[in-house]
């Protein structure tokens, strides 16, 4: 589905990601874990081209994704115009939800389909309402994001990504900004999506969740992929001292 080859990223000549290879298959749930500063979020943002890789290639279903930078190191204007095909197929859920605050929940959901994919409004509304039903927020359709709790906002953000019918959804620490008691409502929906066969890449600190839903787990450190394996291989690992230490500190934190 998504293939990342030799991806590198540096900020002002300081390398942040070095030579990342990652292949996410259709229907697969891949979690990326690792200490802070390991480059997990940067990798995810590079996969969506919110950060432009300094080098390397990205393929979506064997189709190469072309991107060029301008002098500021941002995506060139032309690339921004040309990447619509890719962005519509790769959904993104952010740590801070990033819902459009001047639009109602329903408007947030139909904006992408109507503006980008030119779906007729009535159809988009119908689909949006079904998605809100799915995330349990149909009664909030006409509220503004500012009136919702963090957990509700993130559920709306997931529904917004789903409204585009993406082939894969990237989750950038989707529960890190939530009050602890609201985390489960977001994780429950993500688990449901995983069960339905959605292809997902998740950067997370929720170790138990990653272990439960992932097909594979990627352990990153210092801008490199240190280990990729099934949850069992990662969590029962004995050889890699650093991974062992990281997992122990994470499970300590969770109590």
């Amino acid at each position: 589905m998504i293939l990342v080859k030799g991806l590198k990223k540096s900020f002002r000549n300081k390398p942040v990601l070095s030579d990342i290879d990652l292949h996410v298959r259709e229907g697969e749930v891949v979690s990326i874990i690792g200490p802070s500063g390991a480059g997990k979020s940067t990798l995810l943002r590079c996969m969506n081209l919110l950060e432009v890789p300094s080098d390397g290639q990205i393929f979506l279903e064997n189709r190469p994704v072309h991107f060029r930078t301008n002098r500021q190191g941002k995506l060139s204007f032309r690339s921004q115009l040309q990447l619509t095909w890719y962005r519509t197929q790769v959904g993104m859920v952010f740590q801070h939800f990033n819902l459009w605050t001047h639009k109602t929940v329903l408007q947030n959901l139909i904006e992408g389909p109507c503006t980008v994919k030119k779906v007729p409004k009535a159809e988009a509304v119908k689909k949006a309402m079904a998605l809100l039903e799915k995330v349990g927020l149909a009664d909030k359709a006409h509220d503004y994001p500012g009136d919702l709790s963090g957990g509700q906002q993130q559920r709306v953000a997931i529904a917004r990504a789903l409204a585009m019918d993406p082939k894969v959804i990237l989750f950038d620490e989707p529960t890190s900004a939530l009050d602890p008691e609201l985390v489960h409502e977001v994780l429950d929906i993500m688990a449901k999506l995983a069960e339905e066969g959605m292809t997902m890449v998740i950067v997370t600190h929720e170790m138990n969740f990653a272990r439960r839903v992932s097909d594979r787990i990627v352990f990153m450190e210092k801008g490199a992929v240190k280990k990729i394996g099934t949850p069992d291989e990662i969590f029962n690992n004995k050889e890699d001292a650093r991974l062992h230490q990281f997992l122990r500190s994470m499970t300590h934190m969770a109590g």
Binding site: N70, T84, R87, T88, M92, H102, G146
Partner: protein
């Protein structure tokens, strides 16, 4: 208060007020458009565009409106003779665009970056991102300073009378010069100006209320 004087000049005042209103409304429209593009230039990736925009703001924010009006009307570049009304509108637009561009730039910059990223991530192109996400939020943010600037413009428009535009100030001046009464001429003009500026403030009140996001 001598009502006969007021009714005697009534027609001239009405024409003058209409001219003031026309000059101002046209200048507001043009300066807003120009200011928007200058703000975009200052935020653009191109060093040249940024430099041009910076210089524009630096110069026209720093020199008097009256000087620009004089220049356009009495000593226009390339010998293009402009009618007084046109020179007035152009001069005010050029002058005010420098202030408006800064107001608009501040608004554009205050839009939450994450919301712009979300727009990009969902596949919006730069134009859709601007018109669907960035501008609607910018407008909400800039209404108070923007209307403030428009009120100042309306008062400053009195300066176009210096280059012979027959506006409200010109009418007041004429009436005063031939009657030497104050309340009936300058006083009435003041009241009309106050009415015009008040309508702008009313507009601010209404738009702010209408665009407020949480309506309870």
């Amino acid at each position: 208060m001598n009502w006969d004087i007021i009714s005697g000049y009534g027609d001239m005042y009405l024409q003058g007020a209409l001219t003031t209103l026309k000059v101002c409304l046209l200048a507001i429209v043009f300066s807003t458009l120009l200011g928007f593009f200058i703000a975009l230039m200052r935020l653009s990736g191109s060093r040249i565009l940024r430099g041009i925009a910076f210089t524009y703001v630096w110069v026209f924010r720093g020199i008097p409106l009256m000087l620009v009006l004089f220049w356009l009307y009495y000593a226009p570049p390339f010998d293009i003779m402009l009618p007084a009304f046109v020179a007035g509108v152009v001069g005010m637009s050029i002058n005010s665009a420098s202030f408006k561009s800064e107001i608009i730039r501040a608004g554009l910059m205050s839009v939450n970056k994450g919301q712009l990223e979300a727009a990009e991530a969902i596949g919006m192109n730069p134009f859709q991102k601007m018109f669907k996400v960035r501008l609607p939020q910018t407008i909400r943010l800039v209404i108070p300073p923007y209307i403030n600037n428009c009120v100042i413009m309306m008062k400053e428009s009195a300066q176009v009378s210096i280059i012979t535009v027959p506006d409200l100030m010109m009418a007041a001046q004429k009436a005063y010069n031939s009657t030497y009464t104050v309340a009936e001429t300058l006083g009435v003009a003041g009241a009309v100006y106050l009415t015009l500026t008040s309508s702008l403030m009313l507009l601010q009140f209404i738009t702010e209320k209408k665009l407020r996001i949480n309506k309870h």
